[in-house]
């Protein structure tokens, strides 16, 4: 349970980093893109972003932007193919369960790192062991704590012994936390960012996370991905508007994470005449409000239900986000198998009178006063506007009295789990595209949000999600869990957002990589010759 709890916690940090950063990734599936012959363009892909990259040693980060570079410069044993939802072999030839707690992988032969050294099973063991040895503060290693032991019986075989059965383990092997590093990476400290060597499609040529990161094509790459360009330049922008100007002026070819709502709207409308196109992919970023079920006023389920009954997600999506987000009515976003719009089924349309009735029946004195917290610097500047909207919706009924409080992320991250906030906003990006990653961190008795909610049936369902290998049983568990959380409403999901990128005319392949994995595979991008 400790590992589970920490994994969730780490994912939170990750989620935060997402909002600021872009991702990229490398992946193992060959892209079936129409991008033409590899290397037919002399110019690299220039990708602009407002994100922040920290460390690109896999043992030193747990944020999407850094991981994205890891995904593009290292291989993992398994990877979720573009557009897919199940792990497939990447550096591995094949992987399978020996028994409930033993997972065996065989490596493909003849794979080398960019520096020419060969990839063996020892590298995998080294990669996992140093993660657990270094225990970097970014907490990505927490994903691997379920591994009791990892061994390399021969040069091409790796065997993982798990502490307990975990159906999601193959997914964990697809994360950057399990990326494979060379033997000369120190076992107890991080490899400097300007000296990283991987075996993915790209190599890191220049590393300056305050301005620009340059990736070159890895000549030694032996995987399945086809590289359709001659390299990548990641250019960093401090503001969303600077990023938007840059793509309009043609300084960057792709603008990915984040464009302001106003900019997206403008580009959708007028982008064509400036040679810019907006590309929308499937999104799995969600945003939600946690209610502090551990104490007054939200320890009373009727109060939580009343909030759920009043909040008008459509208006938020339309007035605040102008259609760039989709209202989310359940814990699992649309597009992920297991999605059920349980809040809509439970509460129907926003209805203040029904809310009043709920409160009356429970004998709650109105107006109910509470503080609602949000952070200005994590999920886009519109969050503040959204909370202004929520405040209005709740107060217009006369049933609630909301005090808005804001705190910047550093302090916020420190505070939200100590039960001092009545209600607070958070966002979430999945570690891997499996529905359990939207349930377990939030609704388990030891949840990351620590809002005092617990339910025995929920804990059992979570156990099914994590250990049962029968798809049907898992889907049933997701559905039942969605119903429970709509009825109890310890957390109110607000919206989910599609990944959006803006691209210059002629740039192709971006749409394809904007899939629910949230990994941006640079190799599929093509058509950037001038």
């Amino acid at each position: 349970m400790r590992a589970r709890r920490f994994r969730g916690a780490a994912a939170f940090v990750l989620a935060g980093a997402f909002a600021l950063a872009a991702c990229g990734g490398d992946d193992d599936t060959a892209a079936d893109d129409d991008g033409g012959e590899a290397g037919d363009s002399s110019l690299p892909v220039v990708l602009g972003t407002t994100d922040t990259v920290t460390n690109i040693d896999p043992a030193g980060s747990y944020d999407k932007p850094s991981w994205n570079i890891v995904y593009n410069t290292y291989q993992r044993l398994l990877a979720v193919p573009l557009g897919g939802s199940e792990p497939q072999p990447d550096a591995a030839e094949s992987c399978d369960w020996d028994d409930d707690t033993t997972y065996r992988c065989t490596l493909k032969s003849g794979q080398t790192f960019a520096d020419g050294s060969e990839i063996t099973s020892e590298n995998v063991v080294h990669s996992i062991e140093r993660q657990l040895e270094i225990q970097h503060e970014s907490n990505g290693w927490q994903l691997l704590t379920g591994i009791e032991e990892v061994e390399a019986p021969d040069e091409s075989t790796v065997v993982f012994h798990l502490e307990s059965p975990d159906a999601t383990f193959p997914f964990i092997l697809t994360t950057a936390a399990a990326a494979i590093v060379p033997m000369d990476y120190p076992a107890d400290e991080l490899q400097p960012n300007d000296q990283v060597v991987g075996s993915g499609p790209y190599t890191v040529d220049e590393f300056d996370p305050t301005q620009q990161i340059q990736l070159g094509v890895n000549e030694n790459y032996a995987g399945d991905r086809e590289v359709n360009n001659s390299g990548v330049i990641l250019q960093f922008y401090q503001t969303e508007s600077a990023l938007k100007q840059a793509i309009e002026e043609g300084e960057v070819m792709i603008a990915y994470r984040s464009l302001a709502v106003t900019d997206v709207e403008d580009l959708e409308e007028n982008g064509a005449e400036r040679g810019v196109e907006v590309v929308v992919g499937e999104g799995t970023e969600i945003n939600y409000m946690v209610l502090q079920a551990s104490r007054e006023p939200f320890d009373e389920p009727a109060v939580r239900q009343a909030v759920a009954q009043i909040i008008d997600r459509e208006t938020i999506a339309e007035s605040v986000y102008r259609g760039t987000v989709t209202p989310l009515y359940g814990p699992i976003p649309e597009g992920v198998p297991g999605h059920v719009p349980s809040f809509k089924e439970q509460y129907g349309e926003p209805d203040p009178e029904a809310a009043e009735q709920l409160l009356d029946e429970a004998g709650v004195e109105t107006p109910v006063e509470f503080d609602a917290w949000w952070m200005p610097d994590r999920y886009g500047e519109e969050i503040g506007d959204m909370f202004g909207e929520i405040e209005r919706q709740l107060e217009d009924t006369g049933l609630f009295e909301v005090n808005l409080e804001q705190l910047s992320w550093a302090q916020y991250a420190e505070t939200f789990s100590d039960q001092s906030m009545d209600a607070f906003d958070l966002g979430w990006f999945p570690d891997y595209p499996d529905a359990s990653n939207y349930i377990e961190p939030f609704y388990h008795a030891e949840s990351v949000v620590n809002n005092g909610y617990s339910d025995d049936e929920m804990d059992e369902l979570i156990d099914v999600m994590l250990t049962d290998t029968d798809e049907e049983a898992r889907l049933d568990a997701f559905e039942r869990a969605s119903e429970i959380v709509a009825e109890d409403a310890p957390i109110i999901q607000l919206w989910q957002r599609d990944q959006i990128a803006a691209v210059r005319e002629g740039v192709e392949g971006v749409e394809e990589t904007l899939d629910p994995s949230f990994i941006f595979y640079y190799d599929v991008v093509s058509g950037v010759e001038e």
Binding site: P44, T54, Q235, Q238, T239, A242, A410, Q411
Partner: protein, 343 residues
Amino acid sequence: MSTRTAGSLRTYLLTRVLLFVPQVIVILTIVFVLMRVAPGDPVSVALGGQRSEEELAELRAAAGYDRPIIVQYWEYISGVLRLDFGHTIIDNRSVAEIFAVNGGATLTLTVAAFVVALLLAVPLGLIAGRFRDTPLDGSLRVFGILTYAAPVFFVGLLMQLAFARGLGWLPSSSQASPVVTARVPSQTNIFLVDALLAGDTAAFWNGVQHLVLPAVTLGLLLTGTFMRIIRVNLIQTMRSDYVEAARARGVSETRVVIQHAFRNAMVPFVTILGLQVALLLGGAILTEQTFNWNGIGSQLVRYLDSRDYIAVQGIITLFALAVVTASLLIDIINAIIDPRVRY
């Protein structure tokens, strides 16, 4: 002042240099009190949310924040004396490295802004002084006030709208196009110099184009200040005996300005430069933010937003030292070149 002699120049310089030491100590103390005592220990502020109490305590101990504040104070001061300004918490860069890497951008921007300000302010200031109290003088002064009254970011925004978006003449952000940045090898961390070293004139030109809007924006901020100083100095010089003598010889007023008064009017100007260092650095923070300029100002904002107090403390320390040192140098230069010191 009027009693100072050549001998007292030496005394003055000595005093001035000696005063530098306590001033640096005081300023370091102020920075320390502001940054360290006020918010609590940097470790829990920056990383608190992600760890357990025990882990935090461990980290605090490792970083030395569990020791008495006076010991930490001593470490800070002695660190600065060893030119060690600490390492950032969030990405473990040394503060000195931040200055080395990002300082070039800020330096380019401020120097260019300074040149722009001089180019505008010297002629305008001289004209205003020459035609003192006429409507021309009045409108120039109002222009000067206008340049001062318009916030940097507002001017920057208007510039971007007009010249980048509207007319499409100039790029609106960054030091150079990403592709160009990528192909110029970084040697000095000053992009324009690197481009020249690489013999890449196209890259140099690209960099100059990117520099125009931010430099003019920040330069305008200084223009009003400079104009007024030049105007006042000119008026003052025009009253002096030797100018009166030139006038008496029948030299025309405009020639008096150009040949006689100009040089002397510029001398006290040097003194003012010391002040402008602080002003420039302040304006640079906003300009960098507006134009996505990857200088120290934007780094400061980045670390502030991440609550990285060590980084912020280091950057402020270096900023302050830069200003104090600049004012020391300028006082010394001024004492040497200003003839009035030797009267």
